[in-house]
């Protein structure tokens, strides 16, 4: 199926999504990668507040290249999600509803996704120039000192992703590879 979705997405709509669906996302997403996740996680461990509210948000595992003059952002493709796995269940339990990245996720993440009715989507890795065109505004909202790893509030329009793990825990990487495996 192909969907055009506006963020925030209701639980009912999220539950409809299945591994393999193509989605064009519009609305606000937040970029955060290794260093920002580590800091947020450390805050949670110390019972300190997070720099942004993560309830109902979509996270994009991405650290852009610098924007040229008259551009919103530089190249802006996904990074490998598994490096965020350690920190992810805690953020899902706080209400994160969508994650955009690339690559496999851990069992712990999958369990936390099922528990919280959340979806994991892949953007095409190595398509950072193309994906930057779907980002219409970018603003650093936390951890500015981290440079490319700062948390950015991004407004996207028809940002192309594919559902890899749906709310039920179905994993497209496992299903699709089995379909084309000829070993």
């Amino acid at each position: 199926m192909i969907y055009h979705l506006q963020i925030p997405v209701s639980d009912k709509e999220l539950a409809k999504l299945e591994a393999g669906d193509t989605i064009y996302l519009s609305g606000v997403i937040y970029s955060a990668r290794d260093a920002a996740h580590k800091r947020m996680y450390e805050n949670l461990e110390k019972n300190l507040p997070l720099p942004i509210s993560v309830d109902q948000i979509f996270l994009y595992y991405m650290g852009p290249s610098p924007a040229r003059e008259n551009k919103v952002i530089g190249s802006a493709g996904p990074t490998t999600s598994s490096r965020m796995d350690k920190y992810t269940p805690a953020l899902l339990d706080l209400g994160v509803k969508g994650m955009i990245g690339k690559g496999k996720r851990s069992l712990d993440v999958k369990e936390a996704m099922k528990r919280n009715n959340a979806v994991y989507m892949a953007a095409v890795g190595g398509a950072g120039a193309l994906l930057s065109k779907a980002i219409i505004s970018s603003e650093v909202v936390a951890y500015e000192d981290l440079g490319a790893e700062a948390i950015r509030k991004l407004e996207v329009k028809d940002f192309p992703v594919i559902v890899v793990i749906d709310c039920k825990g179905n994993d497209l990487y496992e299903q699709a590879i089995a379909e084309y495996n000829k070993e």
Partner: protein
């Protein structure tokens, strides 16, 4: 002695940083076109088409092909009749990297200490490999390496009794573990033989080879052909979303080794297999 100015080295390295991160070499462009034709999975095709559009946008608008503009790896082939004047070679290369990443709007992805992890903010230092050869030329090859694929690379210290079948199994296991994380379709660089570090270096050098060229050793060429077929039967496909094009090429470099050893290193590169060269 032939003299080469350090400032010319800085300029060459700077230009290569920008060139390699925005334009793929012709052989890679051809391989990506071929992949589009070969892929039969609809999702796989969709991924490859996005990647074709991406290459076009990158070149036309000077946006890096991938936001991970990498850690700069530089291969230096220094003719022994060359003398560098007006500065030293290592400093010139590092300065070229700094200028290239700053002026090219490339991402600063290097941290000074592996544990403290403070960004150096100019993408220096790069990783430089030197070779001294006969002659009067200085050849520089810059290969910015992204870490999505670098992280999936592996080394296996096999036993001689593991033989060619053991090497095949090791290489295939590395590719399967990499799967979607390494941004397939990948280019797989393999080093076999030498010592622990030599085979790792060979595997990185293997990535520099043109993707339409095989090893000139017959048994290694056969191994490359067999393994490319095996990798493309895994079903991983473009983006790891299923399909028949998992790798564009596998390049194997070999070197003499010890009577007790069979080291095998697998350096995985994504479809953005970037490099640029200059001969000064």
């Amino acid at each position: 002695m032939r003299q080469i100015e350090a400032k010319d080295i800085i300029q060459a390295v700077k230009e290569m940083c920008i060139e390699a991160t925005h334009f793929l070499t012709k052989d890679m462009v051809c391989a990506m076109n071929d992949a589009c034709e070969k892929e039969c999975s609809p999702v796989g095709k969709q991924v490859l088409e996005q990647l074709q559009d991406n290459l076009k946008i990158a070149a036309e608008e000077m946006i890096p092909i991938c936001q991970d503009t990498g850690m700069a790896v530089v291969f230096v082939e220094l003719g022994q009749e060359v003398s560098i004047v007006g500065g030293n070679l290592e400093d010139a290369i590092q300065e070229g990297i700094r200028q290239g990443y700053q002026e090219g709007y490339l991402r600063m992805s290097v941290v000074k200490d592996p544990f403290i992890r403070e960004n150096t903010k100019d993408n220096s230092p790069g990783v430089i490999h030197y070779e001294v050869l006969p002659g009067k030329d200085l050849k520089l090859t810059l290969a910015p390496k992204g870490f999505g694929s670098e992280n999936m690379s592996k080394i296996f210290m096999l036993k001689p009794s593991d033989g060619i079948e053991g090497a095949k199994a090791a290489i295939l296991s590395a590719v399967k573990d990499a799967g979607p994380n390494a941004c397939p379709p990948m280019v797989v660089g393999v080093g076999i033989g030498g010592t622990f570090e030599k085979c790792a270096l060979l595997s990185k050098k293997a990535l520099l080879r043109s993707v339409n060229e095989h090893s000139n050793l017959k048994h290694i060429e056969e191994l490359e052909v067999e393994l490319l077929d095996a990798i493309n039967r895994t079903g991983i496909g473009p983006g790891g979303l299923g399909g028949v094009v998992t790798a564009l090429a596998i390049h194997i470099e070999t070197y003499p080794t010890h009577i007790a050893g069979l080291p095998v290193a697998v350096n995985i590169c994504c479809h953005v297999n970037r490099h640029a060269s200059r001969i000064l």
